[in-house]
Subunit: 116 residues, 2 copies
Amino acid sequence: MSDMDTGDIASTPEPPYYAVVFTSVLRPDHDGYYETAALMAKLVADSPGYLGHESARGADGLGITVAYFTDEAAIKTWRDNAEHAAARARGRAEWYSGFELRISKVERAYGFRRAD
Amino acid sequence: MSDMDTGDIASTPEPPYYAVVFTSVLRPDHDGYYETAALMAKLVADSPGYLGHESARGADGLGITVAYFTDEAAIKTWRDNAEHAAARARGRAEWYSGFELRISKVERAYGFRRAD
């Protein structure tokens, strides 16, 4: 999976659900990367079983995107999206010096939101 | 868990293992945050069952840190570290406008590293 535009903390339901953790390092030359990432962020939101995503990339080029899905079937559906597959191929060929993708099952979660 | 300094893609073993995904938003005033984050990155590396971590924070203040551990016992050991507990308390009181922590079991993983 390619990573996506930055936003807020995802509002996810009670576990269990799935988290796809995509960690990547951008090459210095990555023309078109951010445009494609923004498009993927829009597309995944319409993919069945999508629950939300979070994305951050630091000044050093290391980025982490976590996308949340209801189950493994939802992850497979997004993986098989044709535009997503094309973006992944371009990422591997042009944009990334390396990445790691980890598919995990969220067992517990808790959060904190400041009241003020 | 507080988040940590930025680095490289973590080298993790074959699954299964655990991923603790910590997503946070910093308040505009967060004096001492980065110093504490760097200290936590050093401490966690010595915690039993630690496998590695990755961290990224974008210009908008949203950060994601993922720490990898062998099992739930290792996560509990790090949670119970006294300096880590103090850092978490300070994060909640001073640094974060919000966070979400998700404990997940990594079932599958694959990566790519460019040869050139």
